[in-house]
Amino acid sequence: MSVQMRRVASEEPAGPAYSTSAPETKGEAVLTAGVKIEPGTDYGFFTDSTVCIGCKACEAACKQWNQLPMDHLGLTETSYDNTGELEATTWRHVDFIEEFPSHDGGNGGGRNRWLLLSDVCKHCENAGCLEACPTGAIVRTEFGSVLIQQDICNGCKYCVPSCPFGVITVAKEQDGIAHKCTLCYDRLKAGLEPACAKACPTDSIQFGPVIELRERAEDRLRQVRQRGQSDAYLYGVPGGPGATGGVGSLNCFFLLTERPEAYNLPAEPELPSRRVLPATLTTVGAALFAGLATAFSIYRAAHDRRSVEGERR
């Protein structure tokens, strides 16, 4: 807004007193994220690592809303990361990556960085877990998110190796079934934005319709690059890094400033189903080869035996 247009304050406080909340019907997300949540639209997160302060409010808010247990108590001895990784009882995880090329208080001119990033389930366009699930427990919701239906999952673990990002694990000590981020499905149904995005104090985690978020992300990327971070890029937008190998785009995508591996993200994720045909061909080929080799060695053995016998004669 232009400065000239600013309203001059009267001596009395502006606006009516006692206005506390918007009408219930619009949903709280209208107030907190500027988004009216409606079925039929794909929603996701744009996580901007350049403004993440590593406060872990997302981790705590996620665990509180979803009533997930404390799963690990003790120093991991890895910077300020005492969570370690995404797992069945941890659906948000903040990475802490210390990069200090010039360790003399910055005098050497190298760029010292503490990279911070809140990682989460990507809610892939083509989700490996969903493809692999034999029971139909994993579904695509009306909000475009990927959801494990807790009452159907039988704990077969097929989804675990099928996720190219290593997001899903099974809660061995609790119920033995698979768990991951639900994009706060219950909150979306009630018109609330997901707990992590709401708690994020710097808007590093932004919630909204994926299409809108991508536009916002492109603007932000331009801005970040203009300010000198020429290595910044988007991970998980169509055609970009992270959206490879049949995974398609990621509903939860990221703005990063270091190669994906630094954040423990695959540079070129691939759907396991992509490997089915080559793997089948390889298997068939290998079987053919093995069969022929066996046949040949039997033939050779028989031939040799005959030769030996012939010589004996």
Partner: protein
């Protein structure tokens, strides 16, 4: 906050967090803002999004540094050297904002001829009494007319009565007293220049341990982003206050901001980030021993405070806003003692005890230890973890007859008698501890209604969401019913000393089964009303301008008046943000004292003629047609005072301040580059080393540390020598995002405990290699006060510093942890010492020395 009070007039942040988004440069120093104030940091992030430069100057590379454009590591406790260097840089290169400095600061005032600077006396100012460790302040005064500070302790040592100088205070036209050309060698500006002349980039580098280039990068960025069209802000937190020179660190920042013209303007100011929720509120309506509500001085035996008349004569300056003090003081007495406070009995002035000694936190803990204090009520505090020289504190608790702890969990303080390290080691025997401990479960914030007054002086009301569980009750319930029961016990007493208790107005209506006092009635009392014994007949006052000194009005804290201006209008409940951030001052959200102002001293946002300095930084200005100050905020100035107004020779009160005197709380209406009164350790900040330091004071080799710092040398509180080879490392303590102060609100909560599960010490790879320590190893750290074991976090985020060839290692420990709860660890404060900043009486927990080795406590070295 005497640093801000002595500079600007009010001891509080000059701005609001959201206004940081308007900054062109944000200097964060003495604060790990992103970690400790993550929500406020949102607006620093926003400023950076808009193109601002964010700078973090801090011993450690923290999550704040990660979010900054520039991080400069400095040795803990050398901030004045760094800021002094910036002041010198700005003066040397003529980068100060001339029109602002000449008109709005005391740069042109002449200082008394007998004033001698630290530069003249090898590190001390004139008036020092070395034996008493205190200054006589008379020589620091202005030439010709003494002024009072805008602080609670108004009484200054001067033989001249103030009344002789009425009217001359602000006008300052006589060439004997003032030089607007700033050339007279005795004028504040020239004194300032000489004082900081030796704070060169090289000196900064040799004291602080950063490179000259790094320092210059910061100084030039700040200067570049200040002026008519741009503004810079400084954010600090408790990492400035917790030093024996803490107040003067804040003073140094204030001087810098005045020179650059950044105070009272959008995107500028000094943002004092308070230590935790409503700590601003707890100084406004204080939990301090030497203040009464609204920054009124507690009467003292050391000052002429025998009667109300004497007190008011000593404390009321003739000019500036504080000339209203009698109205506020009498209204406070009326609020507390009602009909028992009459003109005939001095409005019961004698009911208020006179203080006779230092009863601040640190000396109180010593007095408990030495058996001078018998009973101790602990509400919302955990001194067994948060107290300094914490081993001494815990041994002291065993000397009490009784202790009351009200909290949500059984804290380290409540359980010291069976769980403390002193019990584990056999120092204390639970069977022999006589202390009777009463533990009361406390209601948490969602379980009681009330208010928060946070950093930006903003009062926000909250309602009760759920009933507290079991026997848990609110603090107001506890105090109210304790008062009721005590009054019942003394009901028939004829003893005059019991009158203060029996005459208290203790008539708040109650609600519910548990007779919870209705806190909105407490707010009504704080706001103030016309006095009547009956609530029904009390008329709420709308502004502190309505308060009187004749007993007709009552107000619990004049500063908050206006918060409840009419029945049913609790402005702290307001929740209307500005639509689309327009104009972005959000006057409809909560209530900010004074009078709902968001940026204080905002008269400074206009030039002397009342016009905005620039369109970009337009905020409050003079509307010539309406003859009225207008703008986006509530003007912090008399609304109809013309910018060209000049006081006459006999003007008093606010009339004695000219139309170009924006600091209305100051007796002369100016921002004080030079603090002529109000501070105990000098009118200008000076670099002193911390009490414990690995190096000799480079600037003043003959004056190592603050000559008037409060020290308590005793066998159980020994200090290390200068450059003590037994304690070669600098240690600093700090907090983490994941935990809250003494840990009660976080270490018991599994979701937070797992995020920072135990204590640790941050060590540089270089020091770790020297000591044979690997990441994750157990490390034992010790000082003359105590010993702790903790885990090593070896990290490049801490770098060894080179001071003129000497390598200085720094280590850091979070101080949250203790022996109770889920997330545990040895108590970092076992290592720190008890000492005091002479002004604020705050300890030096941010910079002291230690030694360390690999291995656990009992292990062979």
């Amino acid at each position: 906050m005497p640093g801000l009070g002595a500079s600007f007039g009010r001891g509080a942040a000059t701005t609001a967090q959201w206004d940081l988004a308007n900054s062109d440069c944000v200097l964060i120093m003495g604060s790990d803002m992103a970690e400790c104030h993550p929500v406020a940091f949102r607006f620093v992030t926003e400023a950076r999004r808009r193109g601002a430069t964010v700078i973090h100057v801090d011993p450690r590379y923290t999550r704040t540094s990660a979010m900054s454009d520039i991080h400069v590591p400095i040795r803990a406790g050398t901030d004045i050297a760094f800021l002094g260097g910036m002041i010198n840089y700005v003066l040397e290169h003529n980068l100060w904002f001339k029109d602002y400095v000449v008109n709005y600061t005391n740069a042109s005032h002449l200082v008394r001829d007998d004033f001698q600077d630290a530069e003249d006396l090898e590190g001390v100012f004139s008036g020092l009494d070395r034996d008493q460790r205190q200054y006589k302040f008379a020589s620091w005064q202005y030439k010709g007319h003494p002024v009072m500070p805008a602080l609670a302790e108004h009484y200054v040592q001067s033989s001249e009565p103030f009344t002789q100088h009425v009217g001359r205070l602000a006008a300052c036209v006589s060439p004997e007293e003032c030089d607007p050309a700033l050339q007279n060698p005795r004028c504040v500006f020239q004194v300032l220049k000489r004082h900081f002349a030796r704070y060169t980039p090289q000196m900064v580098s040799e004291i602080c341990g950063c490179s000259q280039e790094q320092f210059l990068q910061v100084a030039s960025a700040m200067a570049r982003c200040s002026g008519r069209d741009r503004t810079s802000a400084v954010c600090y937190a408790v990492a400035w206050t917790q030093h024996t020179v803490g107040t003067q660190m804040i003073r140094a920042a204030s001087i810098l901001q005045l020179l650059l013209g950044n105070v009272g303007r959008p995107g500028g100011g000094v943002m004092a980030l308070r230590g935790h929720a409503t700590i601003q509120g707890s100084t406004d309506i204080p939990t301090l021993y030497n203040l009464l509500p609204g920054y009124l001085a507690m009467p003292s035996v050391r000052d002429p405070h025998g009667t109300l008349k004497e007190y008011l004569e000593a404390e009321t300056p003739p000019s500036g806003w504080w000339s209203n003090l009698p109205k506020y003081f009498v209204s406070l007495l009326k609020a507390w003692y009602g009909d028992a406070a009459t003109r005939e009995n001095d409005f019961a002035f004698h009911y208020i005890p006179l203080i006779d000694d230092d009863y601040s936190q640190e000396p109180m803990m010593l007095a408990i230890h030495d058996g001078k204090i018998k009973g101790f009520m602990v509400l919302g505090q955990n001194p067994a973890v948060g107290g300094h020289n914490a081993g001494l504190v815990r041994r002291g608790l065993a000397q009490l007859d009784w202790m009351v702890v009200r909290d949500a969990y059984e804290t380290e303080t409540a359980s010291f008698w069976y769980a403390s390290p002193e019990v584990q080691s056999g120092d204390l025997d639970p069977k022999k501890i006589k202390t009777e401990i009463f533990f009361f479960p406390a209601a948490l914030v969602g379980e009681k209604p009330g208010s928060f007054t946070n950093t930006q002086r903003l009062v926000q009301w909250h309602d009760k969401a759920v009933e507290p569980p079991g026997d848990a009750r609110s603090e107001s319930w506890f105090v109210f019913h304790l008062g009721r029961r005590l009054r019942e016990l003394y009901r028939d007493s004829q003893d005059p000393k019991d009158r203060p208790l029996l005459d208290l107005t203790w008539d708040y209506p109650t609600t519910g089964t548990y007779e919870e006092p209705d806190v909105e009635y407490i707010l009504r009392e704080v706001n103030g009303y016309t006095w009547s014994p009956d609530w029904k007949d009390r008329q709420l006052v709308k502004s502190y301008n309505e308060l009187r000194d004749d007993g007709s009005t009552a107000s619990g804290c004049w500063l908050y008046t206006g918060i409840y201006p009419a029945e049913g209008r609790n402005l702290a409940r307001n929740r209307t943000p500005d639509p689309d951030w327009n104009p972005g001052t959000h006057l409809g959200w909560g209530f900010a004292w004074p009078s709902n102002r968001r940026i204080m001293y905002n008269r400074c946002s206009a030039d002397p003629e009342g016009r905005p300095w620039s369109e970009r930084k337009r905020y409050v200005w003079w509307d010539e047609e309406r003859k009225h100050w207008v703008g986006y905020d509530v003007p912090d100035f008399e609304l109809t005072k013309d910018p060209n107004y000049q006081p006459s020779a006999d003007s008093t009160g606010m009339d004695a301040l000219s139309g170009t005197s924006p600091f209305i709380m100051m007796a002369d209406g100016k921002g004080w580059l030079f603090a002529a009164a109000g501070l105990k350790d000098g009118p200008l900040p000076t670099h002193y080393e911390p009490l414990e330091s690995p190096v000799v004071n480079k600037l003043y080799p003959k004056q190592q540390s603050n000559p008037v710092a409060g020290i308590f040398p005793r066998p159980d509180n020994r200090y290390h020598k200068v450059a003590d080879p037994d304690f070669p490392y600098v240690i600093t303590t700090y907090r983490l995002t994941e935990h809250h102060t003494g840990g009660i609100m976080s270490r018991w909560l599994p979701w937070l405990a797992e995020l920072q599960p135990e204590g640790f010490i941050e060590i540089s790879p270089e020091l770790a290699a020297e000591k044979g320590i690997k990441n994750g190893d157990w490390v034992t750290v010790w000082t003359a006060r105590g010993e702790v074991e903790t885990r090593a976090l070896v990290t490049n985020r801490i770098a060894p510093l080179r001071l003129n060839g000497q390598v200085v290692h720094q280590v850091g420990m979070p101080w949250h942890f203790g022996y109770q709860g889920i997330a545990r660890g040895d108590i970092a404060n076992n290592l720190s010492h008890i000492s005091e900043d002479p002004n604020s009486r705050i300890h030096e927990g941010k910079a002291f020395t230690c030694n360390l080795r690999r291995g656990r406590k009992g292990e062979y070295r």
